[in-house]
Amino acid sequence: MAERQRPRRRGQGELEALVLSALRDADAPATAGWVQERLGQDLAYTTVITILTRLLAKGAVTRERAGRSFVWTPASDHAGLAAHKMRRVLDAESDREAVLASFVTGLGPDDERLLRELLGQSRSERED
């Protein structure tokens, strides 16, 4: 029962990570069928293709034609994929409201000069 429920509960992000790690384990460019076998769970072939295509759009994998199908090669690691996804999350929130407390916010036109002055002053004080 639990075994059957697990694939359904897994989110897209987790599946992408699984497929990417399977590809990274391969010694050579792998086919979608190989990935499906490697994952060994009841993932449909079309699901694997969908996930690979999504990873391709994110620049996390590359593919080349081999005969009648494609072979896939990993282009980035998990961190690279996460970075890409995070940028998409942040870029989608083009609103000026801060949802997440970020370390620094943007600088206004005069802020940069002011900031350099502050840091410069402080540095010369330290050297004195």
Binding site: A79, A82, A83, F103, V104, G108
Partner: protein
């Protein structure tokens, strides 16, 4: 209840002086807590009153499902200018509820998506992302609180400054600052007069984390340098998404505050200073707001109870 029902709608104005003065004169922790409490109280009271006026407004509309007795002259007399105010309150309350719902939903969505983006990574507290855009933020909730930072930002900081950065983000998570930020955002949606408090709390929450980080790394100057360098490195990057208030230039103010003396932890400022007056003004405003909305609510319930034939 008379004009009292309208008071909570304009009383947020009494909090404007403290919203301006708090960042210079109060400890950032005190300021954040005080301003958030005032904003939340005033927002709830203002929405309650809007709801009361709306009941009168809705009762006038033909074909409404409310009891007939609710449109009696006695009920309508409870609210001054009931014709105009009652009808204006209906779209106003709808707008408030929709805006608050949207803010809340967006907040949850960003957090959910950000956690999902990190799903494939090792389950560590700090997630370092290889990206050439320098940014860092604290991501609360999910399976665990996380600090997200890019390699570009780490590269432009020295080791001590990196420790300051991590300490700053951990302070956000440990202090649950996102709750304060969400509360003031919702309050600003509920009553536009509360917007200066949202801006002020967004700033004081950063200052609070700065001061905590300074204590953790043992040097205010290091934190100031970390902020300054990070800001200079990330200027002109497209991450304006997280910049809630770029126009007012909060970064130089934070750096200047850190290079100055540490803020004193005072419990409650004296009444005889401008900041004391402002604090008490806001506190009295919030109290009057609460009293008049409670008074209006009780009056309204009594009037409606009397007007409803049972």
């Amino acid at each position: 209840m008379g004009v009292f029902v309208f008071l909570p709608l304009v009383l947020p104005l009494t909090a404007w002086p403290i919203a301006r003065l708090a960042e210079q004169h109060l400890h950032p922790r005190t300021a954040t807590r005080l301003l958030t409490a005032v904003a939340a109280t005033m927002a709830v009271c203002s929405t309650v009153c809007l709801g009361l006026v709306m009941v009168v407004g809705t009762a006038q509309l033909p074909g409404n499902p409310l009891p007939d007795g609710w449109s009696d002259p006695e009920v309508r007399e409870a609210v001054p200018y009931d014709e105009v105010a009652g009808k204006a309150a209906i779209p106003a309350l709808c707008a408030v509820l929709m805006a608050c719902g949207r803010t809340f939903w967006r907040h949850a969505r960003v957090r959910r998506r950000a956690h999902r983006a990190l799903a494939g990574l090792r389950d560590a507290e700090v997630a370092v992302l290889p990206d050439d855009v320098p940014y860092a933020y604290a991501l609360p909730g999910g399976r665990r609180d996380r600090v997200v930072v890019t390699t570009a930002l780490l590269d432009c900081l020295e080791p001590a400054e990196r420790r300051a950065l991590f300490a700053h983000e951990r302070a956000h998570l440990a202090g649950r600052h996102h709750r304060f930020l969400l509360a003031v955002q919702l309050a600003a949606r509920a009553n536009p007069f509360l917007r200066p408090l949202r801006t002020a709390v967004a700033y004081t929450a950063e200052r609070w984390a700065d001061e905590d980080a300074a204590r953790a790394v043992g040097s205010r100057r290091t934190v100031a340098y970390a902020i300054g360098r990070a800001a200079l490195a990330s200027r002109g990057t497209p991450v304006v998404t997280l910049a809630g208030f770029a126009a007012t230039g909060p970064v130089p103010r934070r750096v200047a505050a850190l290079l100055g003396p540490a803020p004193a932890v005072r419990r409650w400022p004296s009444v005889f200073t401008s900041v004391g007056l402002a604090t008490w003004g806001a506190a009295v405003g919030a109290a009057v707001s609460a009293m008049s909305s409670a008074n209006s609510a009780v009056t309204m319930v009594l009037i409606l109870h009397a007007a409803t034939p049972l």
